[in-house]
C-alpha cells in the first residue's frame, strides 16, 4: 500500500512538473484578478490539479 502511494506520489510530482508552465500562467492569471473571480479561478485551478493528479492512472 505504502509502495503504491509512494509510486503515485512520484508520478504526481512528475505530472505537476509537466504542468509547470501552465500552472505559472494560471497563478499569474489568478493574481491579476480580484474579488470573486480570483477566488473562483484559484479554486478551480486547485481542484482541477487535484483531479488531474488523482486520475493519473485512469487517464493512462
Amino acid at each position: 500500500m505504502i509502495k503504491k502511494l509512494w509510486a503515485w506520489f512520484v508520478e504526481a510530482i512528475k505530472e505537476t512538473l509537466n504542468l509547470s508552465w501552465t500552472l505559472v500562467g494560471l497563478i499569474i492569471a489568478t493574481l491579476t484578478l480580484t474579488g470573486s473571480a480570483r477566488q473562483i479561478t484559484g479554486l478551480a485551478t486547485i481542484i482541477t490539479l487535484g483531479i488531474w493528479l488523482i486520475t493519473i492512472k485512469f487517464r493512462k
Partner: protein, 672 residues
C-alpha cells in the same frame, strides 16, 4: 561534650533570627515611565520584615539634581507600607510631575527612599541614590513658562524624624496697626467717585487714610488723606478712565515710626471716562456737489436711457447694449467678453468625457459667423455635432468688441482671475472663426490653466473658420512641459496647503483631485512627500465616501484612478471587502508616482502588484484564500471587478490559454 555544644550552636541560627535594624530601608527600588501618558512609577521592594518597626509608609526623596538628602529635594510619602519581600508601586501623575519640574524631557530623575514608622518614631536610612534619564518625548515636554519650584520638604506627611530641641522663643512686638475703617462705601454715578467711611481710633491713632486705585490691578495711584477727621472723599472725574476701577481703602498709623497700614476694604467696578459736554459752533455744511450731467442715449434696440457723461465715455453704454443683445440671444445678461469667457452656462444635455474641438475646414462660415471668437460650451450627443448658432455680424462689430474687451478686462480683472475650468463642461465644442483655413490649434487647454487658456484664445481671436478637433485627454497630459508641470504642482500644493485631512470636506477633496487630474497623478513626482501623502489621503477619503459624491465628483475621482465612472463604486465596495484592493488604493498615488514612466498605469496595475507581493510573501495563503467562497454567485461573477481590471486580466489569461493549447498541439504533433 564539646561536639554536642558545637552542634547546638550550629543548630540555632541566632543571627538570622535577630532584627537587622528597627526599621529597614527598602530592599530594592526601580523606576519605569509611561512615555505616552507622561507618568513615572517608582517600584519599592519591601524588606524581609525582620525588624521591630516595619515601615508604615515610604518617603520618596527626588530631584533633578544628584546628591539627594532629606532636605535638599522634593519628597512624597506613599500610601502603602511594609509588605514582606513584595514590590509595591507609587506613580507620579503627569500633573504631579508638572508641579515639581518645569520640564522633564531628556532630564535626569534622581531618587532615594526612606522607610517610616511614625508610631514608633522610627525611620530607616535612605536607600542608595538611583538615577533615570527621562524619555525626551512630548509627554514629558512641559515647557512651563509660568512655573516656580515648590520649596522645602514640608509636604512630606508624616515627616517623622523628631529630635529633642531646645526652642528659644524670641518675642518680637509687631508694629502698631490702626483699627480698620468700617462701612467703607463707594458711589459712582458716571462722573466722580465718592468714598465714605467710618472710623474710630483704637490702640493706635490713625495718621492718614489711603485710597489706592488702579485700572490694571497692578499699577496703583494713591490718594493720601491726612485729615483724619474726614469721612468722605471725592475722586475727581479727571482720574476716571474707561475700564475696571480697582480700589482699596487703608487706615495708616505713624509710618515714619514703624507703624503700618491696615487695608479696611477693597473692591472693583466698571467706570467710563466722563466727557464733559462742549458747546461748539459747527461750520456750515459744504454745498452739495452738483448733480452729474446726464445724457439721453438711444440704445441699439431703440429704447432710450439716461447715462452720465463718464458712462458714455467709459463704454458702459456699449456694454449695456451687449448685455441686452446677449440676454435676448442666450438668456444671459452678460457682455460679449463674458460670453466669450464662457460665463454664460447654456443648458446641458448630457455630460461627456471627451474634450472635442470640432474643426470644419471645408465650410465657409464667413457669412454666418461674427469676426470675434465665441467660445460656446455646448453638449453634443456622441454621434452628432451641432453647428454653432449663427451670430449676426451687425450684433458684434469687430472693432467695437476689441476695444470693449480691453476695457472690460481692466474692469473685471478680479473675475478674470477666477476663471475656473470647472465651468467648461467636459464635453465642449470650441467653435473658432478663422480667416486662415490652414490654421490649427497649436495648443490644447489642459485643465483650468488660465495662462494656456488665455494664450489659446488670444491666438485664435483672428480665426474665422470653424474647427472641430477631437483631442483625447491623455494627449493633453503628455504634452505638458516641465514648466507647466511645475506650475500645476505648485497649484496642487497651494490647494493642499490649508487642508487638514481629519477635517477635509467633500468639496476640498474634489478640488484637490481636480488639480491632480490637471497634472496627472504620475506627474506628482515633482511634488514633495507631504503633498503626495495628502493627495493619497484625499483619494482614500473620496473612495471611502463615494456615496456622498455627485456624478460629476465621481467622474473626477474616476479620472484620478484612471478607471470608468461606474468602477468607482465597485472599487469602494471592494475596498471594504478585499484587503488587496484596500492596500492598492492606499498605495495608489505612491506607486503611480514611482511608475511615472509606465504608460497607462492604473489602479488595476497597483492591485496586481500588491497581489504579487503578497503571493511572494506567502504563496499558499494567497492561493487558498477562499474566505467568502460560499457567498459567490456564479451568475454575477467578476461583477466586482473594474472594467480596467478585467481588461488587464484578459491580457494575461488569454495568452496563457492559447499557449497551453499550442503546447498540447505541439505535443500531439510530435507523437504522431
Amino acid at each position: 561534650m564539646l561536639r554536642k555544644f558545637l552542634a547546638v550552636l550550629l543548630l540555632i541560627p541566632l543571627p538570622v533570627l535577630a532584627d537587622h535594624v528597627p526599621t529597614q530601608p527598602a530592599y530594592g527600588q526601580d523606576l519605569t515611565t509611561d512615555n505616552n501618558a507622561g507618568t513615572i512609577t517608582i517600584g519599592i521592594l519591601s524588606s524581609d520584615g525582620f525588624e521591630d518597626s516595619p515601615p508604615e509608609n515610604y518617603t520618596i526623596f527626588f530631584s533633578g539634581s544628584s546628591g539627594i538628602t532629606e532636605t535638599n529635594s522634593f519628597c512624597v510619602t506613599t500610601s502603602f507600607g511594609h509588605s514582606t519581600n513584595n514590590w509595591q508601586y507609587h506613580t507620579f501623575s503627569n500633573d504631579d510631575l508638572k508641579y515639581y519640574f518645569a520640564d522633564l524631557a531628556g532630564e535626569n530623575f534622581y531618587f532615594r527612599i526612606r522607610s517610616n514608622n511614625e508610631t514608633d518614631n522610627s525611620v530607616s536610612t535612605l536607600t542608595t541614590e538611583s538615577v533615570y534619564n527621562i524619555y525626551a518625548g512630548v509627554a514629558f515636554e512641559f515647557n512651563q513658562t509660568d512655573w516656580s519650584a515648590p520649596t522645602g520638604t514640608d509636604a512630606c506627611n508624616p515627616y517623622v524624624v523628631t529630635t529633642t530641641t531646645t526652642t528659644t522663643t524670641t518675642t518680637t512686638i509687631p508694629p502698631a496697626v490702626p483699627d480698620d475703617a468700617t462701612n467703607v462705601s463707594v458711589n459712582y454715578q458716571g462722573k466722580d467717585v465718592y468714598f465714605a467711611w467710618e472710623y474710630t481710633d483704637g490702640n493706635t491713632v490713625a495718621k492718614e487714610f489711603h485710597i489706592n486705585y488702579s485700572y490694571d490691578n497692578a499699577t496703583w495711584d494713591r490718594v493720601v488723606i491726612t485729615d483724619t477727621s474726614a469721612r468722605t472723599y471725592t475722586l475727581d472725574y479727571t482720574n476716571i478712565q474707561t475700564g475696571t476701577f480697582y480700589w482699596t481703602f487703608s487706615v495708616c498709623g505713624d509710618l515714619e515710626n514703624g507703624e503700618s497700614c491696615t487695608d479696611s476694604d477693597s473692591n472693583n467696578f466698571e467706570t467710563t471716562e466722563y466727557v464733559p459736554p462742549t458747546t461748539t459752533t459747527l461750520p456750515p455744511p459744504p454745498p452739495p456737489p452738483p448733480e452729474p450731467e446726464k445724457v439721453e442715449v438711444v440704445m441699439e434696440d431703440g429704447s432710450k436711457a439716461e447715462y452720465e457723461t463718464y458712462e458714455v465715455e467709459d463704454g458702459t453704454v456699449d456694454r449695456d447694449n451687449q448685455r441686452k443683445a446677449n440676454e435676448d440671444k442666450f438668456g444671459c445678461y452678460m457682455t460679449d467678453a463674458q460670453i466669450e469667457r464662457g460665463d454664460c452656462k447654456l443648458p446641458e444635455e448630457e455630460p461627456k468625457e471627451e474634450v472635442i474641438i470640432v474643426v470644419d475646414e471645408e465650410r465657409d462660415t464667413k457669412e454666418e459667423l461674427p469676426d470675434d471668437d465665441v467660445v460656446v460650451p455646448e453638449l453634443e450627443s456622441k454621434d452628432e455635432v451641432k453647428e454653432p448658432e449663427p451670430i449676426k455680424e451687425e450684433d458684434t462689430p469687430k472693432e467695437e468688441i476689441k476695444i470693449d474687451v480691453e476695457k472690460i478686462e481692466e474692469e473685471f480683472k478680479f473675475e478674470e482671475e477666477e476663471i475656473i475650468f470647472e465651468d467648461i463642461p467636459e464635453d465642449i465644442i470650441i467653435v473658432i472663426e478663422e480667416e486662415v483655413v490652414e490654421d490649427e490649434l497649436d495648443k490644447e487647454i489642459p485643465g483650468d490653466d488660465i495662462i494656456r487658456e488665455e494664450t489659446v484664445q488670444e491666438e485664435d481671436v483672428q480665426d474665422e473658420v470653424v474647427q472641430e478637433v477631437e483631442v483625447p485627454k491623455e494627449v493633453i497630459i503628455e504634452e505638458l512641459t516641465e514648466e507647466e508641470v511645475a506650475l500645476e504642482v505648485a497649484e496642487v500644493e497651494e490647494v493642499i496647503k490649508d487642508i487638514v485631512i481629519e477635517e477635509v470636506t467633500t468639496e476640498e477633496v474634489i478640488e484637490v483631485i481636480e488639480q491632480v487630474n490637471d497634472i496627472g497623478v504620475q506627474n506628482l513626482n515633482q511634488a514633495t512627500e507631504e503633498v503626495k501623502e495628502v493627495v493619497q489621503a484625499v483619494v482614500e477619503e473620496a473612495i471611502e465616501n463615494v456615496e456622498d459624491l455627485s456624478e460629476e465628483q465621481v467622474a473626477v475621482v474616476a479620472e484620478v484612478l484612471q478607471v470608468e465612472e461606474d468602477d468607482v463604486e465597485i472599487i469602494a465596495e471592494a475596498v471594504k471587502e478585499d484587503e488587496v484592493v484596500a492596500e492598492a488604493v492606499e498605495e495608489y498615488v505612491e506607486r503611480a508616482v514611482e511608475n511615472a514612466n509606465v504608460e497607462n498605469y492604473t489602479l488595476a496595475d497597483v492591485v496586481t502588484e500588491v497581489q504579487y507581493e503578497a503571493f511572494l510573501e506567502n504563496p499558499i495563503e494567497v492561493l487558498i484564500d477562499f474566505d467568502n467562497i460560499t457567498e459567490i454567485n456564479l451568475s454575477n461573477i467578476s461583477n466586482d471587478m473594474t472594467q480596467d481590471q478585467k481588461e488587464k486580466a484578459q491580457e494575461v489569461v488569454v495568452p496563457v490559454i492559447l499557449t497551453r493549447i499550442a503546447s498540447m498541439a505541439a505535443f500531439i504533433f510530435r507523437r504522431s
